[in-house]
Amino acid sequence: MPGLVFILIIITSFFFTGIVIRTKSIFSGRKGPGIFQPMKDIWRLLQKENVYSQTSSFIFKIAPDIYFASVLIAIMLIPFGTQKGIFSFDGDFVFFAYILAVGKFFSIIGALDTGNSFEGMGASREALYSFLAEPAFFILMGSLALLTGYTSFGDIFNGIHFGSYISYAIGTLASFVLILIAMIENSRMPVDDPKTHLELTMIHEVMVLDNSGFDLGLILHATNLKFAMYGAIIANLFLTPGREWYFSIPIFIGVQILFAVVVGTLESFIARFRMSHNPQFIFTITSISLLIFFAVLLILGKYF
């Protein structure tokens, strides 16, 4: 059933951020809210009325819808172990990256639409960091395509399980890159601190300063969905093929929870970088994915 992974990701998104927050609260010695608290907040927001700025135009009103829709479509492309996603075709990960870019395009111009200097600042940073992170993802997918000989999410994750240890080593490196990409895409530590209280140091939070009510709810939940989506990609690296759903689903949920705990741990122990150091940090991810590429070349014996 191709829709299974879609439903699983949606379910995961409900508690993902909750686990992150819970982990952080445990590490800092607080009791912390329940894991469904972020969802309750979003639900509350969805029932509120929208407040719009006098400056903004229809772009600002439609931007959250397009942003949310782009994340939904991206999720539809994610496979589940041996099962393909709802949509699967050669080069679907290119579509995946570009459809997310559509959402980003609109969230950026939505921020610029308010005429607020802080939101312009956030938009500028978001655009800068996302273009820096782009090559890493493509090199990673290129290496996986090279390793498996396929060019779609479904086929790649199907073919990656040779059963050898090396493919799992590459899986680990790849999940490292994916975690970092997810942190950047979702504007979390060490690039951005969602809990900072100074607008000057924010990225994503400051872009949505003027969004309220239903729109803000959509944007916040899109972040949850994005987290669960990257978690699903990482889980795919470790789903063993040919096994029944009663193996795959627990592995999937397990990887997602582990990912959330890792995110929470990272955020508890790492401080946010200075803004001027972020580009260097983001670009190092590209070099790590190049490392994966060379590892794959070595495995395939292309060096002679």
């Binding site: 719009y52 290119v94 950026i108 782009e134 290129g142 239903f214």
Partner: protein
């Protein structure tokens, strides 16, 4: 009557018409001419694209010899693309020029050159006689020069125009060298002799021959480092001319590169690598510089360089596909190149038209003084954002489809090619992804600062939406952008014949079918995406139906007196990016000093400059000027001296021919001894 004679006669007739009619009518007459020529050439071109190529031979007398007119699928594809943009160009330009009527007296000349330019571009695509080709190329260059310097009273325009004229003649020089080289060896001006000649010589020589053509055409196309004329010429030309130049005229270079790829027999692998490297540099450099531009049209001009780079990457992939006999690679590469050529001509001409509309409304192209135009000109804003998203390669618009084909080729090459192909292609993938991300930064800046927020400066005249007849060409283009974006599979079928011109030896129907089924899925997902947006919007409307909508000032983090001056500007938006790539840029900065406790207003100005231009154009020119200064005494303005120079020159020529006879005689003598 034959096709070409027919088109030439129509052109002459309409040019005479334009010259002797009232200025007010000249736009409409030009439209008529373009319509008739478009009709005739498109009919032949459509037939060629679906597989019935056209051939006629005109007797050009003793000078030209036989002039073959061949319209194959490749020419057909380019003619169709060019006709559409020229048509929308004249539809838009007719309205654009209304403002200049009875002011400059150049309008008739302008429209006459527009007609001539259109005809000469058709000629370039179909004429396959070296000498005739060069003549037509020259006519094209001169007519576009006249169109560029329409506002010749502005010294900046004239300077840019001259720059354009000189560089297009360097291009012609290289083409002349290449074509004469071949015809001096084969005694034939027919293009087919190029392939027979290059098959008869060693591969190194044909590589040099190809590079000669490549550099010549690369100047026209605007590959880095041959691009320097482009960011000057595009901004100063009237908007529809910029649109046509950027949309189709630089594609003449692409056409030339592709045509010579078919004709010159060479090592496709090496030529593929060369094209790939030049293109990657062009792509990244073009967009990297586009971001820091303040002038909207200059920004778009640098984006043309980027897109030429993307087309070049596709051509390189295709060449490597032929070189390695990989049909999928070849098909994806050339189909991507041809489709991106079409796509770029659509969205870039649209962007230039809308830039022209903005210019005529607020009389400036400086992005930093715009803002909030979306409320005054909503239709222009919608047209602009669609083109902007298309040029960023975002689905569901057309730019994505061609970039997707290129990505498919690259990923295919990564896992099926040799080590060197894999390594180069992975770098290209990273480069293409980088270009995509940078384009996003660039066009969020352009759209966001121009149309969104509040107006950044005050304009005396009232800002209104432009009239429907000026918006109509834009909607026409958007229609095609959407059709290609949402039904890409139709266009791939059309591309099968043009691509098979290159891959006739190695491709069967197989890769095309695979790609078509892929694109069908993309079209499906694109529709689902639109559906998802619509349904979320509907749900939102439903949930909020009984709630009031509150309109308040923008939240300024507690500050209550926020004004339009406090918004982010284009320069501040890209500041962190500018710092990041600082070493690759030259930013000329002028800044006043703060004097005293109560300073008078101070100004700070930044002007981005092109580092490649500084190294490849300005520096050699400086040296040349220095060397020329030593012999400047020759040019002393004295007529008698000039006559003396003539006599000396003739004497030297005569003596050289005499002496060469003597030398040959002596040489023979020594040989016999």
């Amino acid at each position: 009557m034959s096709l070409s004679v027919c088109i030439v006669l129509i052109t002459i007739l309409f040019v005479l018409f334009v010259s002797f009619s009232k200025e007010a009518w000249s736009g409409s007459i030009a439209l008529g001419a373009v319509l008739v020529n478009t009709g005739i050439s498109s009919w032949v071109a459509v037939n060629a694209v679906i597989g019935h190529s056209y051939l006629e031979i005109i007797n050009g007398g003793p000078v030209f010899g036989d002039i073959p007119i061949r319209v194959d699928a490749l020419s057909g594809w380019f003619i169709l693309m060019m006709n559409f943009t020229v048509l929308t160009g004249i539809l838009y330009g007719r309205r654009y020029m209304k403002l200049y009527e009875n002011k400059s007296g150049m309008i008739s000349l302008h429209f006459a050159s527009y007609i001539i330019n259109h005809t000469s571009m058709i000629g370039i695509f179909i004429v396959q006689n070296s000498l005739a080709f060069l003549y037509i190329w020259e006519i094209m260059a001169l007519s576009s020069f006249i169109m560029v310097i329409f506002e010749y009273k502005n010294p900046e325009t004239l300077k840019a125009g001259l720059n354009f004229l000189i560089q297009s003649h360097i291009c012609i020089l290289l083409l002349t060298i290449g074509l004469i080289w071949v015809s001096s060896h084969t005694d034939s001006y027919d293009f087919n002799s190029i392939s027979t000649y290059s098959a008869s010589v060693s591969s190194a020589i044909s590589l040099v021959l190809y590079l000669c053509f490549f550099i010549g055409f690369a100047i026209k196309a605007g590959f880095v480092p041959f691009h320097t004329w482009l960011p000057y010429a595009h901004p100063v030309a009237p908007a529809h001319v910029s649109g046509v130049m950027s949309g189709v005229m630089i594609k003449l270079g692409i056409f030339g590169i592709l045509r010579m790829l078919i004709l010159v027999n060479q090592n496709y692998l090496i030529i593929g690598y060369i094209i790939l490297i030049v293109s990657l540099i062009s792509g990244v450099y073009g967009v990297a510089l586009a971001i820091v531009q303040h002038n909207l049209k200059k920004l778009l001009a640098y984006h043309s360089i980027e897109n030429i780079g993307i087309i070049g990457i596709a051509i390189g992939i295709g060449a490597i596909g032929i070189g390695t006999k990989n049909p999928f690679l070849a098909f994806a590469g050339f189909a991507g190149a041809l489709l991106h050529t079409l796509n770029h001509s659509l969205f870039k001409s649209l962007l230039f038209y809308e830039a022209g509309t903005i210019y005529q409304t607020i009389h400036t192209l400086n992005i930093d003084s715009m803002g909030g135009l979306i409320k005054k000109m909503p239709q222009t804003a919608i047209l602009f954002i669609i083109a902007a998203m298309a040029i960023c390669g975002l689905p569901p618009f057309n730019g994505f489809i061609s970039e997707f084909l290129i990505y498919l080729g690259l990923f295919e090459g990564v896992h099926s090619g040799s080590l060197s192909i894999t390594t180069v292609f992975i770098l290209l993938i990273a480069g293409l992804a980088l270009i995509g991300g940078l384009a996003l930064l660039c066009f969020t800046k352009a759209f966001g600062i121009i149309f969104l927020g509040q107006a950044r400066s005050h304009f005396d005249n009232e800002i209104n939406e432009s009239e429907p007849s000026k918006l109509f060409p834009g909607y026409l283009i958007v229609l095609f952008i959407l059709i290609i974006g949402l039904f890409p599979q139709w266009f791939i079928r059309l591309l099968i014949n043009p691509v098979s011109e290159f891959t006739s030896g190695i491709t069967d129907g197989f890769p095309a079918l695979k790609i078509i089924s892929n694109l069908q899925s993309i079209s499906l997902v694109a529709w689902v995406f639109l559906l998802a947006i619509a349904s979320i919007w509907t749900i939102k409307r439903f949930v909020l139906r009984n709630k009031r909508m509150v309109i308040t000032p923008t939240w300024s983090c507690g500050y209550s007196e926020a004004n339009s001056k406090m918004q982010y500007t284009a320069s501040s938006y890209v500041r962190s990016y500018r710092k990041l790539i600082g070493p690759f840029l030259i930013m000329n900065k002028k800044e006043g000093e703060i004097k005293g406790v109560f300073s008078s207003p101070i100004h700070s100005q930044t002007h981005p400059y092109d580092k490649v231009e500084a190294i490849f154009i300005d520096f050699p020119l400086k040296i040349m000027n220095k060397m020329m200064a030593r012999v400047r005494f020759i040019q002393n303005g004295n007529m008698r001296h000039y006559i003396l120079y003539g006599v000396v020159f003739i004497t030297i020529i005569v003596f050289i021919s005499l002496l060469s006879g003597v030398a040959a005689y002596l040489f023979n003598l020594i040989k016999q001894m």
